[in-house]
């Protein structure tokens, strides 16, 4: 197993939180297409060493925001600074310090695993011998060292994803941008990836992450924003958001009887009625749970922890998108 400190060879990053350096600074950032505003005045900052989450339903503007940050899409309004420089004027120097892992793997499927990384290193102008040694390290870091000679099309989905991530690290970026890195992965691969991200974070790499897995976001993110329809709904630490919007405890009832509905309304409890299922946000008041199980639905009533998924669904609604 590779020592984590060995992965980045050529530079020493300042571990978080030695001092607060702003890596991304978006101020009233907007992106408009002809008829449609994808990102509508979004403001947030990401500090060095942070793992920052960008959450939202499909079509919320996550990928558009990410594309503006690495200078793929020009922004239409507001301002956007990365490493303190405007992306519009300093895109080239900013991109040398960014690593991106796209939603699509965008790998060269006809050539080998090793060639994929070494050729990509060429785009950054990394000398060949350094590219070779970094490739060796990255393949080891992501457990692909035995596949280096295989063609990419012979890899499984999980291995391709790991390779795409390895490629995003070939320039030893100060900022790593991950657009839904774990979508479609099995639990084993997902946990291994989380582990790797934690290691990178420990080294001081700033990470911007989008994901649809709320469990992943609450586990990994220091701070996150939830966006919808191009606007930020909330910003904060996962734990704080959970206690603020849903409380630590949630009672789930299914099916719901009429008496319970009356009880919830009579006591003005914070709840969501989904028809055949009801969520009651009881904060820390577990006495309510005792009363409900005793008097209403003793069989089909559970008390569980509030989750980020509760927060997400409460804020963005439950209707289907797209």
């Amino acid at each position: 197993m590779l020592q984590k400190d060995d992965l980045y060879s050529s530079k020493t990053l300042i571990p978080f939180p030695a001092m607060a350096i702003t890596v991304i600074e978006a101020d009233h950032l907007r992106k408009c297409y002809d008829e449609f505003t994808a990102v509508d005045g979004v403001s947030f900052t990401v500090q060095q060493g942070e793992l920052f989450g960008l959450l939202g339903p499909n079509g919320a503007g996550k990928t558009t925001t990410i594309r503006m940050i690495y200078g793929f899409s020009p922004y239409s309004g507001g301002s956007l600074k990365v490493f303190g420089e405007d992306i519009t004027t300093h895109w080239r120097s900013i991109r040398t310090r960014i690593g991106v892992c796209h939603q699509d793997n965008s790998l060269d499927e006809e050539i080998s695993v090793r060639d994929n990384l070494e050729i990509f290193a060429g785009f950054f102008g990394i000398p060949r011998d350094i590219a070779r040694s970094r490739t060796t390290k990255l393949l080891e870091f992501f457990g692909l060292e035995n596949r280096e000679k295989l063609n990419v099309k012979a890899l499984s989905g999980g291995m391709m994803r790991r390779l795409a991530l390895a490629r995003g690290l070939i320039n030893e970026p100060d900022l790593l941008i991950l657009d839904e890195p774990t979508t479609g992965l099995d639990p084993q691969t997902r946990h291994q990836l989380w582990d790797r991200l934690a290691q990178l974070k420990q080294q001081g790499v700033t990470i911007l992450l989008t994901t649809h897995y709320m469990e992943e976001a609450s586990l990994l993110c220091d701070r996150l924003i939830i966006v919808d329809h191009g606007k930020i709904l909330v910003e904060g630490r996962p734990r704080d958001l959970i206690s603020k919007y849903v409380g630590n405890k949630v009672i789930e009832n299914s099916p719901v009887c009429a008496e319970l509905r009356d009880y919830v309304i009579a006591h003005a409890l914070d709840h969501e009625d989904l028809g055949h299922r009801m969520l009651i946000y009881c904060k820390d008041n577990e006495a309510i749970f005792d009363e409900i199980t005793r008097s209403y639905c003793h069989d089909h009533c559970i008390l569980r922890m509030g989750t980020l998924e509760d927060v997400f669904l409460k804020l963005t609604g439950r209707e289907l998108r797209e």
Binding site: P74, R95, G99, S106, I111, D115, F120, G122, F123, F124
Partner: protein, 263 residues
């Protein structure tokens, strides 16, 4: 804003290098075609046409059909190689493999990616044309030292047809739509650019149309280089046509691809 990430520098060679390294992995398939194609043509035209067309009159010379036809095989190959590389192959890289999206996260501009692709297409034309010329030389169909002129000509012609291919890549909606420019543009050119018969045989109006088509100029230069009858005047006139057309089409290729890629 559309000019935002558009700047051109030597970094385009990094894209060229990528294409070269990827192609090198499957070089056998890539280079078998230019090796065998001229052999097939010569077998067919040499043996099959010999009795039908014993001699052909070209610019005051009397030539066998194979001698007349051989340089046109090289010229059309220059056209097809670069056009296919920057239409079908570039489209696959752009649309299916999302290679350009990946490169656009590195310190390369859209212009450098597209220019690198076009220069690569021209390089591929150069390589295949060189192989074909070598094969035809063995058959004694190439006059030297003028025959060496095929090498720079292939690069120039490759740039021109690469630009044309890239312009279509910038505008087509799906990969099937490439059949349209091939049917309306490439195939007629293949047939009417002095490839299979001398342009002198055509009526004046048809000759005029042929003179507008880029392949005519490529064929004329290739033929006279192979025959050893090239004149300075021909080099200047046809060379100028190729260079001016490249100068006009290259910015168009960059523009349509910028519009397509920068969202």
């Amino acid at each position: 804003m559309s000019k935002l990430y558009a700047s051109l520098s030597w970094r385009l060679l990094r894209v060229w290098r990528r294409d070269w390294l990827v192609t090198r992995r499957s070089w056998l398939i890539g280079f078998l075609t230019p090796l065998l194609e001229p052999v097939l043509y010569i077998a067919s035209l040499g043996f099959g046409f010999r009795l039908l067309i014993p001699e052909i009159q070209y610019e005051g010379q009397s030539l066998t059909y194979v001698v007349f036809m051989a340089p046109a095989i090289i010229a059309t190959n220059i056209m097809y190689t670069a056009f296919m590389e920057n239409s079908f192959s570039s489209f696959v890289r752009m649309y299916y493999q999302k290679t350009y999206d990946a490169i656009m996260a590195t310190p390369l501009s859209v212009d450098e990616i597209i220019a690198g692709e076009i220069v690569w297409g021209a390089t591929k034309s150069l390589m295949t044309a060189t192989i074909m010329t070598a094969v035809l030389s063995v058959c004694g169909l190439v006059h030297y030292p003028t025959g060496l002129g095929i090498i720079p000509l292939a690069f120039l012609g490759g740039l021109l047809f690469g630009c044309i291919g890239m312009i279509f890549t910038g505008v087509v909606q799906s990969i099937e739509m490439f059949n349209l420019p091939i049917f309306l543009f490439i195939t007629p050119m293949y047939l009417f650019s002095g490839t299979f018969f001398p342009l002198e045989n055509l009526p004046d109006w048809a000759r005029l149309i042929a003179w507008i088509l880029p392949l005519t100029h490529l064929v004329t230069l290739a033929r006279n280089l192979c025959l050893g009858t090239i004149t300075l005047f021909q080099i200047l006139i046809h060379g100028a046509y190729l260079i001016i057309t490249i100068a006009l089409l290259f910015p168009v290729a960059l523009k349509v691809m910028r519009r397509r890629l920068i969202k």
